[in-house]
């Protein structure tokens, strides 16, 4: 009985495919255009691409993550049931599992500074023989990145007007309006984005992170470090010099909860007046990929900005 039904389905689908056979093309972040006979169905996605696509209704068959899936901040809160995890270490994938998934396409993010895709050259070398690799570019805005995912998802058959998907976008727009209003209400407020290590305080340069670029575009005054070493991403400050910059609000990298613990444990953390006054909040560093989490993180920021005393720093 089931076999007959399955056969019927296969027959149906094989007759259905030619009806859509105008093909599928997509120009990836590397500028190269991928052309397939039909829109790809079996997708292997990097963790970030998965975080961008799943909320838009596109479910990959396999995901490769940069670290243990439980630690992958981008994947938090997403339903991953039925999705094969083919990698949990940066630069590594299980090629046998990947091949068994018979992917039509590999979707990652293109990193223009490194001129490679998510996971790095080795992962690309391992996966690209199975299917073409493409995806959006890691630019200077998370919002643009999400919009790129929207366009990609739509070409893959997603219905962006579905109530849940449209609702998440609407929630985000409300959050964004709230953020812009809070920033506009405090034009003098300055913010500093940091990562706290036990050996030093790392101050982030705005151009090094797409979400910081968004915040700046939406009116938040971010203090940029004078010297950004490490390819322009960070300035390293000895904890003795933790007060080199005096912001009104400190944003602490929240990829791992231990960063905030480390910051609070440093005796000179409170040399920054904002830290002493408790004007500290999360910086969703490098992991935002969809409207729902972006809205939640923006709300946190908005609350912190609203509560902050903008006259704190000189």
């Amino acid at each position: 009985m089931f076999r007959i039904a399955a056969t019927a389905l296969i027959l149906l689908s094989s007759t259905a495919i030619p009806a859509f056979a105008e093909g599928w093309t997509y120009t990836g972040g590397d500028g190269k255009t991928v052309t397939l006979d039909a829109a790809p169905v079996r997708i292997i996605a990097s963790q970030d691409a998965a975080a961008g696509l799943i909320p838009l209704g596109i479910r990959p068959v396999g995901i490769y993550a940069d670290s243990a899936v439980a630690d992958a901040k981008a994947l938090q809160g997403l339903d991953l049931t039925g999705i094969e995890i083919i990698g949990q270490t940066w630069g590594e994938v299980d090629i046998e599992k990947a091949a068994a998934l018979q992917p039509d396409i590999i979707i990652g993010e293109y990193w223009p500074l490194d001129t490679t895709w998510s996971g790095g050259d080795e992962v690309v070398a391992a996966l690209s023989p199975l299917a073409p690799i493409t995806g959006p570019i890691q630019g200077d805005s998370i919002l643009t990145l999400i919009e790129d995912y929207e366009a990609l998802a739509e070409s893959l058959g997603a219905d962006l007007s579905a109530p849940e998907i449209a609702g998440q976008k609407a929630t985000f727009e409300t959050s964004l309006d709230g953020f812009k209003a809070a920033v506009a209400a405090k034009p003098d407020l300055t913010a500093l984005a940091v990562w706290a290590g036990p050996d030093a305080l790392y101050v982030a340069a705005t151009p090094g992170s797409a979400e910081l670029m968004d915040f700046a575009n939406w009116g938040l005054k971010l203090i940029d470090p004078e010297v950004a070493d490490d390819r322009g991403y960070w300035e390293t400050l000895s904890w003795e010099n933790a007060d080199k910059y005096q912001p009104d609000l400190i944003l602490v990298d929240n990829r791992s909860a231990s960063t905030m613990e480390t910051a609070l444990a440093q005796p000179t953390w409170t040399l920054m007046k904002a830290a002493e006054a408790g004007q500290v909040t999360d910086w969703p560093a490098f992991w935002l990929r969809n409207y729902a989490v972006y809205a939640a993180e923006l709300d946190k920021l908005t609350a912190a900005i609203t509560a902050a005393d903008a006259e704190l720093a000189p």
């Binding site: 940069d66 670290s67 243990a68 630690d71 949990q88 270490t89 940066w90 290590g197 036990p198 050996d199 030093a200 010297v227 300035e235 390293t236 400050l237 000895s238 904890w239 003795e240 010099n241 007060d243 080199k244 791992s256 231990s258 613990e261 480390t262 444990a265 440093q266 005796p267 000179t268 040399l271």
Partner: protein, 342 residues
């Protein structure tokens, strides 16, 4: 040891004078460590911070909360590393012995890695006890393995067992790190070895162990002199070779475990310093031990001060500086002296 009485007296006087000179040097390096840092603080403000502490003054807080703890940590850890290296070289009669060769660093690292990956620990104060337990466990395993067989734990078997266990532990550590980049991230800082970020609580947690280890180390000085003559001679002189080696090993574990717990694995100090001490004092451990105990913190704190000022506004970790300073120094030493004379 047929040495003339007058010769022996002048020699003792000279070596005592040398010790006093080292104490003066150590005080100088300690002062340098308090006055030098990534942030320029005038000496009079350092003095004011020490004598009339004002918690609202930024510079006073930096002196008390950052530089004083790391200076004290540098003194204790350095002294412990110097003693541990000397005791290990004496007990194993291996000129290349240091805490890494008997699996002490690897054991400490493994336990810290397990703590991070299994229990999500992230604070240095939590690593202290793990590192201690790991150092002790590794040394116990190494000693047990080396004790198998008729002759017991001979120097060669200790070194072989230590190297084998270290290799095994590193394989396990790497296996965990490869599958858990987060653990690697947390560990990276601890594993280089640094005096920065160690607050007074960590120093105070470890201090009693280091004191006990130092007392035990000095108590074994005579036994080490006996072992230096070879196991057979020592035995003929009525020394219980196994017990001596066991006591010395215990002292080394406490000292090396404690220092590793407080500052992470720091390379080359425990290896290099005993050779410098021996070059000054001659073969007697009654002199080598106190010289090592004073020379090592001078090297360690000096390296830390250099690390603080060479990369402003950041810092370089002391473990990297000691490796840079220690390696060429050690090569020079090896080329100049016949190490086999140990």
């Amino acid at each position: 040891m047929a040495v003339g009485a007058t010769h022996s007296t002048t020699r003792t006087a000279r070596l005592t004078l040398g010790l006093l000179a080292l104490i003066v040097m150590l005080c100088a390096v300690g002062l340098l460590s308090l006055t030098t840092g990534a942030r320029a603080i005038p000496v009079e403000n350092v003095w004011a911070a020490l004598t009339a502490y004002d918690p609202s003054a930024t510079e006073h807080r930096i002196i008390w909360d950052l530089r004083l703890p790391r200076t004290v940590a540098g003194l204790l850890v350095g002294a412990a590393l110097g003693l541990a290296g000397s005791v290990l070289q004496g007990a194993t009669r291996n000129p290349l012995a240091d805490p890494s060769i008997l699996g002490i660093h690897a054991g400490a690292s493994l336990f810290v890695v397990l703590g991070i990956s299994l229990f999500g620990l992230a604070q240095l104060s939590q690593y202290v006890w793990l590192a201690f337990a790991g150092a002790g466990a590794a040394m116990f395993v190494v000693y047990s393995v080396a004790s198998l067989g008729r002759e017991g734990a001979t120097p060669v078997k200790l070194a072989l067992a230590g190297a084998a266990i270290t290799a095994l532990l590193h394989a396990i550590i790497n296996a965990i790190l490869l599958t858990s980049p987060r653990t690697l991230d947390e560990l990276r800082f601890w594993q280089v070895g640094s005096l920065a970020g160690r607050d007074m609580t960590i120093v105070l947690q470890v201090a009693p162990f280091l004191a006990a280890g130092a007392v035990l180390a000095f108590a074994t000085a005579r036994l080490l002199d006996g072992l230096a003559m070879g196991d057979d001679v020592a035995r003929a002189l009525g020394q219980r070779v196994g017990l001596s080696r066991g006591l010395a090993g215990l002292a080394a574990v406490i000292l090396a475990g404690g220092s590793t717990a407080a500052a992470g694995p720091i390379a080359f100090v425990g290896l290099t310093v005993p050779h410098v001490a021996r070059a000054i004092t001659g073969p007697s451990y009654r002199w080598i031990l106190p010289y090592s105990m004073l020379l090592a913190p001078i090297l360690l704190l000096g390296s830390d001060v250099i690390g603080r000022v060479i990369a402003p506004p950041g810092e370089v970790q002391v473990g990297i500086v000691t490796a840079f300073l220690g390696a060429p120094f050690f090569i020079a030493l090896v080329r100049r002296r016949k190490l086999a004379t140990l």
